[in-house]
């Protein structure tokens, strides 16, 4: 096992920045949600890498960071479900999924 912590962190940083770029520049709501999922995945990867790198023989409990990631996964699933249902509701009203055209606060 030669998978080093720093390599995982670099990978995670690169993918997180890709997600940030997507969220900032894209105008379609679905694409923004996809970029959010990419960012969440990058954070999960760094969590798992940290959990593995700081694992010692004395405190051998590998489950802590993984449970953390499981919670993130569950919240991501909830976020995707609610986000896409909001997307559907918005599409019914405005007939568009372009975030720039949805500019009313009043329903």
């Amino acid at each position: 096992m030669t998978l080093s912590l720093s390599f995982c962190l670099h990978l995670s940083a690169a993918i997180f920045s890709i997600g940030v770029y997507g969220v900032l520049t894209r105008s379609n709501l679905i694409v923004i949600l996809m970029s959010l999922e990419i960012m969440l995945n990058a954070v999960n990867l760094s969590l798992v890498a940290f959990g593995r790198a700081f694992l010692t023989d004395l405190t051998r409990d590998p489950s802590g960071p993984q449970v953390f990631v499981i919670m993130v996964l569950a919240v991501a699933a909830a976020e995707a479900a609610v986000g896409l249902s909001i997307l559907l509701a918005v599409y019914r009203k405005w007939r568009t999924t372009n975030a720039g055209e949805i500019d009313l606060l009043k329903g």
Binding site: M1, S6, Y21, T25, E37, A53, L73
Partner: protein, 186 residues
Amino acid sequence: MSFSDSIFWVFATTAVVPAFLILFTRSIVRMAFLLLGSLAGFAGLYLQLNAAFLGFTQVMVYIGGILILFLFGVMLTQRSDIPVREKVGPALAVPGFFAGLLLMAALLFIALQNPWKTHPPVPVTEPDTPVIGIKLLSTYILPFEAVSILLLAAMVGATYIARVQAPGAPDGQAELSDSNAEGRLE
């Protein structure tokens, strides 16, 4: 380069390259399938990091669940008169590019400068999955229950928000037939 090194590189490439290509793709359906590749790469990375349970959960939850949701979202909101294409103008792309670049530089700086007090990797003798199961129902029972309540609330809320409104409701009357078609698809 050893065999496990090359496997790791394969998974890392599978995670990064599709995520990067998403930035330059304009068809949303194609983006969803690129996202599939990226998520599969992450699953492989988890397997490499001795988190087998997470790897398979990733495949089930993300690829089997969230990605399918995204595809439904794309297909339910497609209009035949407007092609589902995305265009990024320079007014957004340039600031976004620099924001992403700055953030990546900051994260890489932290990752490189911080003297991580890591330990030599502990050899894994048994799978972690039983430990995770026991811990989830003993030590981490409170977050576990909180997340279940959150998922229930999200499910009820998503169903409520995306519901098809009844005839006579104040909104959505004009597009009722179309909405009904969408409701059946769900």
